[in-house]
């Protein structure tokens, strides 16, 4: 469970996030949606502590993120899996080494066990027969999927994904959505996903935060989102033909 209380964040005098208060429950797919440039990535980076909010607090359970010591933060981070918007795979390592990287540091498994676990994770994201390729030899979508495999390598308690399905074809995109949703339920993870993919929102959004120009305008889930009367959100949804048909059909 992650709680966010009144956070503000700006860069060089320009406020990007304004007074965001929300919470993310365990075992649910929490989604942050909004137009490009609305501040989703900045919010996510604040949540994981890569950026510090100018004001406000973030709680993991009942621990304040800003009050944690170096060692506490380190321990927490070992329970976090992250997929960055640009995948952030390590150039110096092959696909399988990328997935094994966190295991090298935080487990005492034998090499065979690590390889087995890495193959398992790679299988779940449908990356097969590419173990010894380097990240620059992969397509963008494959990099994303390897990034997800690396994020789930150690069964994290918290999973953060920044646009997991941008750059994926619709079919793979659905596989990834299902994977994220399955893992979340299976392991009771607290999952936070940034996205503007309408399919994912309607498919797996247990809790949805709509951010508009840095402000949290609406919260709800995948059913209530279709009957929202927040018109910025409706404009956002209606840019998608499928969602527009559903919304207009409902009226």
């Amino acid at each position: 469970m992650i709680r966010v209380e009144h956070i503000y964040k700006g860069f060089d005098g320009v406020t990007v996030l304004k007074d965001i208060t929300t919470d993310y429950e365990a075992g649910k797919c929490n989604m942050i949606i909004g137009r490009s440039g609305s501040g989703k990535t900045v919010l996510l980076k604040n949540l994981i502590g890569l950026l510090e909010p100018d004001r406000g607090e973030i709680f993991y359970g009942d621990q304040k993120l800003s009050a944690m010591t170096y060692d506490e933060k380190k321990a927490l981070r070992q329970k976090i899996g992250i997929l960055f918007q640009g995948s952030a795979l390590f150039d110096f390592a092959t696909v399988i080494e990328n997935v094994m990287f966190p295991m090298d540091f935080f487990t005492d498994w034998t090499r065979a066990q690590k390889i087995e676990r890495a193959r398992f994770c790679l299988n779940r994201v449908n990356v097969i027969n590419s173990d010894s390729k380097y990240p620059n030899e992969l397509s963008g979508g494959m990099q994303k999927r390897v990034g997800i495999a690396r994020a789930i390598a150690l069964n994290p308690s918290y999973l953060f994904c920044d646009e997991p399905n941008s750059g994926l074809d619709p079919y793979t995109s659905i596989l990834i959505d299902q994977l994220i949703s399955e893992l979340t339920r299976e392991y009771g993870m607290t999952t936070v996903v940034n996205t503007h993919d309408m399919n994912s929102i309607l498919e797996i959004g247990d809790k949805i935060n709509f951010i508009h120009q840095g402000t949290l305008l609406w919260q709800g889930d995948k059913t209530s989102i279709l009957s929202t009367d927040c018109h910025e959100l409706r404009d956002f949804l209606c840019a998608n033909t499928l969602a527009r048909n559903i919304i207009e059909g409902k009226r």
Binding site: I48, I80, A88, F90, D91, F106
Partner: protein, 248 residues
């Protein structure tokens, strides 16, 4: 400007503190150290060697042409070449060259990992990126660079010998006598020490610049240029300080 300077110095020392935290796993550290040795030290052998041979040769010609006075024994050519090589050339000059080669390599490698969020990714796994990426580089550069210095010294003398025997400016016997004349082992130690210190400066400063690179690929280029400039200036400053402290 002055405030920026002190801020950078402060950040540099905080960065060093992060670098010298105990590694998460020694096994991983040693593995990285071997890789870095290959990348930083072994790959510098050829350039260092080539430069040393040529400079040794040039020094012989220059010294010989400046010792025209018949009263001065020609063996002093060998002596002076040896002293210039060991005192200054093999540590300071080679370090300045390594500042270019090693410095730009380290800064651009770490800088591009920074801007592609690989360092963030590592940090978010709970790994200390400074320890994993930078410590092996600093350790291997600092500990093994004296080997480069010794090699450069030896090859410089060989280069000198080659020129002496090819041109006959002086006899090879005079050259060899000169090389053995008034030999002071402390100078070799002094030079090795300088080289270690310089390579520590190069590796840590370039890593620091890369680690805090921002602004895309332009930022990486900028950080690599700045590493070279800053390390070169510091090498010369510390050359002066160390020489005053150790030789005077």
């Amino acid at each position: 400007m002055i405030k920026d300077f002190f801020e950078s110095v402060g950040r540099y020392f905080l960065f060093l503190k992060q670098v010298f935290r105990k590694p998460e796993k020694w096994g991983i550290f040693w593995k990285q150290a071997v890789l870095e040795t290959d990348k930083l030290i072994l790959s510098s052998i050829i350039i260092t060697g080539v430069i040393s041979v040529f400079i040794g040769g040039v020094l012989v010609i220059q010294t010989a042409s400046n010792l025209e006075n018949p009263i001065i024994d020609k063996m002093y050519v060998g002596y002076m070449v040896r002293e210039s090589l060991v005192l200054e050339f093999c540590s300071t000059m080679i370090a300045l060259i390594l500042a270019g080669k090693m410095g730009s390599n380290i800064a651009s490698e770490i800088g591009s990992m920074r801007i592609t969020e690989q360092i963030d990714a590592m940090e978010m796994m709970g790994v200390n990126p400074a320890g994993f990426l930078v410590l092996p580089k600093v350790v291997s550069a600092t500990v093994l660079s004296p080997v480069l210095m010794l090699m450069s010294f030896a090859l410089g003398l060989v280069g000198g010998y080659a020129v002496v025997s090819a041109t006959g400016i002086i006899t090879t016997a005079q050259y060899l006598t000169g090389l053995k004349f008034c030999y002071n082992g402390f100078y070799v130690f002094y030079s090795c020490f300088k080289m270690s210190l310089f390579c520590f400066l190069i590796s840590s400063i370039s890593a620091f610049n890369g680690y805090y690179a921002k602004g895309g690929s332009l930022g990486v280029g900028y950080s690599s240029t700045r590493s070279i400039i800053v390390s070169s200036i510091l090498i010369l400053m510390f050359d002066l300080i160390v020489t005053q402290l150790m030789l005077y």
